[in-house]
């Protein structure tokens, strides 16, 4: 670690999430206060939400809803499980969950990387708009619903209705898929896709653990882009 890095400790048993977030929001680009250790999160909501500085926030335990929501630039590491909507609407940066994530992980996120070492619940990557998501375990039902851009790489299985009404996101699943949603189809896994899976695994620190050619690719059949009366039953 850089010698100029300043490390801060913040105890959520002694101060509020609002205090923590206010301190993190006050950081500017070029600040050297770059490592924040947060203790006693106890499932509290909105921890480290709305950050916009190149800092690292390590949270020592389980967090509640919307942790690292709207994240820009920051690296947020959760040493535990995360509640609903972790990294929702993330723009850039990196969010890592060492345990499981609840529903709607990285919902609507435009950029950055979300890594979930455990499993993610239902609606993972719902309406994702450019984020990269890597899940070490499995994902729940209705994941990547209306996904627009980005990648979702899953080492385990996917639940019901994967990629329902999907636009252009790429879904890579290594295990089984319970069912595909409307307009989501399996697609050929070409070399460029294997290379992309490798790149995403590498960015998550999981390269070398699984073979990119074990993954199947799913994406849009592009039949629901424009309303067509013959498709009315699929909407």
């Amino acid at each position: 670690m850089n010698a100029s890095t300043q490390s801060h400790s913040f105890d959520l048993a002694a101060a509020t999430v609002r205090d923590l977030n206010a301190a993190l929001h006050a950081l500017k680009d070029g600040s050297n206060a770059s490592l924040w250790r947060v203790s006693n999160p106890r499932g509290l909501h909105a921890i480290a939400a709305g950050l916009d500085a190149p800092v690292t926030v390590e949270i020592d335990g389980p967090v509640g809803y919307y942790c690292a929501g709207m994240n820009k630039q920051a690296t947020v590491i959760v040493r535990g499980n995360a509640g609903v909507g972790v990294a929702e609407n993330m723009m850039s940066g990196r969010v890592e969950v060492e345990g499981d994530a609840s529903q709607a992980a990285a919902a609507t996120a435009h950029g950055g990387l979300l890594v979930v070492r455990g499993s993610a619940g239902a609606r993972c990557g719902i309406s994702m708009k450019g984020v990269d998501i890597v899940v070490g375990g499995s994902i729940g039902h209705m994941s990547a619903f209306m996904a627009q851009a980005g990648t979702l790489t899953v080492l385990g299985d996917a639940g019901e209705a994967l990629g329902d009404s999907i636009y252009e996101a790429r879904l890579y699943v290594r295990g089984s898929v319970t069912s595909l949603g409307a307009d989501c189809v399996e697609k050929e896994m070409r070399d460029e896709h294997k290379a992309q899976v490798f790149e995403k695994l590498k960015s998550a620190g999981l390269d070398g653990q699984v073979d990119p050619s074990d993954f199947k690719r799913y994406g849009s059949a592009r039949t629901l882009y424009h309303f067509h009366v013959d498709n009315a039953s699929a909407y």
Binding site: G64, G83, G140, H141, M142
Partner: protein, 296 residues
């Protein structure tokens, strides 16, 4: 919104702390349901006796009422509620007597071990009024309510009890409760309030009357109840959890050698002993979870 917490103890040594743990869990869920609260606790019970939990207006003289009902009736009053312990054989007779001599008193629950309390107000205040923290028992469920389908009244607060030692709390709303209510009426199950959650409680009672176990009754509800729901239910010896097939409402569970705990959010579980090493999981949609002391 609504908040649910539940605790089912495996380790007997925690039983004196049941109320204290449950009241701590309930307090964290105030934000999810600040309008009313309630809880059911499965405590001590003597063979051959039935506990009737009664509710009346503030300041009601439950002792005088018990005296009117004859000898051998024990009464413990807590604020607007009181628990009468009566010989099991006299339950029907005493209910009839109550209806006659005290029509303004409601029987909110009955069973060998279950006591049930609920009121409007902040959940932490409700827990203090009934002294939940001092109660002991094997398991309990509690609820904080944000009303959606019916008014903010004590009657609309959870838990609902429609059978001996049975209680249900619900987060969500049912869309076919009127149809189910009519069917229950035909089957002879009484649903007293306008509340949709009481219909779910009545439905489970009816299924169990038909010989189904609680686990089987919960399976049946997947076919017959429409809408969104997370249910937590208690029986004399059991504790069950069910989420609707799309898992609309949040639920987190923790299991250790000492207990099984339920919370609408993890925050509710954060204060439990040994939570750092508990197995934490979200119950799967449309999957019945059920723990039974009798089977253990």
């Amino acid at each position: 919104m609504c908040g649910i917490v539940g605790l089912f103890l495996k380790d007997k040594s925690l039983e004196p702390q049941l109320g204290e743990l449950l009241s701590g869990m309930l307090g964290t869920m105030c934000g999810r349901g600040p309008d009313s609260a309630g809880f059911a606790v499965y405590g001590e019970g003597e063979k051959g006796e039935t506990k009737l939990t009664l509710r009346a207006a503030e300041g009601y003289d439950f002792k005088a009422l018990a005296a009117k009902l004859g000898d051998g009736i024990d009464v413990v009053a807590r604020a607007t509620h009181a628990v009468l312990t009566v010989p099991a054989g006299r339950e029907a007779e005493i209910r009839a007597q109550l209806a006659e001599v005290a029509p303004d008193v409601t029987v909110v629950g009955a069973g060998a071990r279950m006591e049930l309390y609920k009121e409007v107000g902040m959940p932490t205040d409700v827990a203090v009024r009934f002294d939940l923290a001092k109660m002991s028992g094997t398991h309990g469920v509690a609820h904080t309510r944000m009303a959606t389908e019916s008014a903010v009244t004590t009657n609309g607060a959870h838990p609902f009890s429609t059978g001996l030692d049975q209680c249900l709390v619900h987060n969500g709303s049912l869309s076919n409760h009127r149809t189910v209510r009519r069917n229950l009426e035909k089957a002879g199950v009484k649903v007293q309030t306008e509340n949709d959650s009481e219909v779910a409680a009545g439905y489970l009672t009816w299924r169990m009357k038909e010989g189904r176990t609680l686990g089987e009754a919960l399976e049946d509800s997947l076919n017959d109840l429409d809408g969104f729901y997370t249910f937590v239910v208690g029986t004399e010896s059991g504790f069950g959890v069910l989420r609707d097939p799309i898992a609309c409402k949040p639920a987190v569970m923790a299991e250790t050698d000492q207990y099984v705990a339920f919370g609408s959010e993890y925050r509710a579980l954060a204060g439990l002993p040994g939570i750092e090493n508990a197995k934490i999981f979200e119950p799967e949609p449309a999957k019945v979870y059920f723990w039974d002391r009798a089977a253990a």
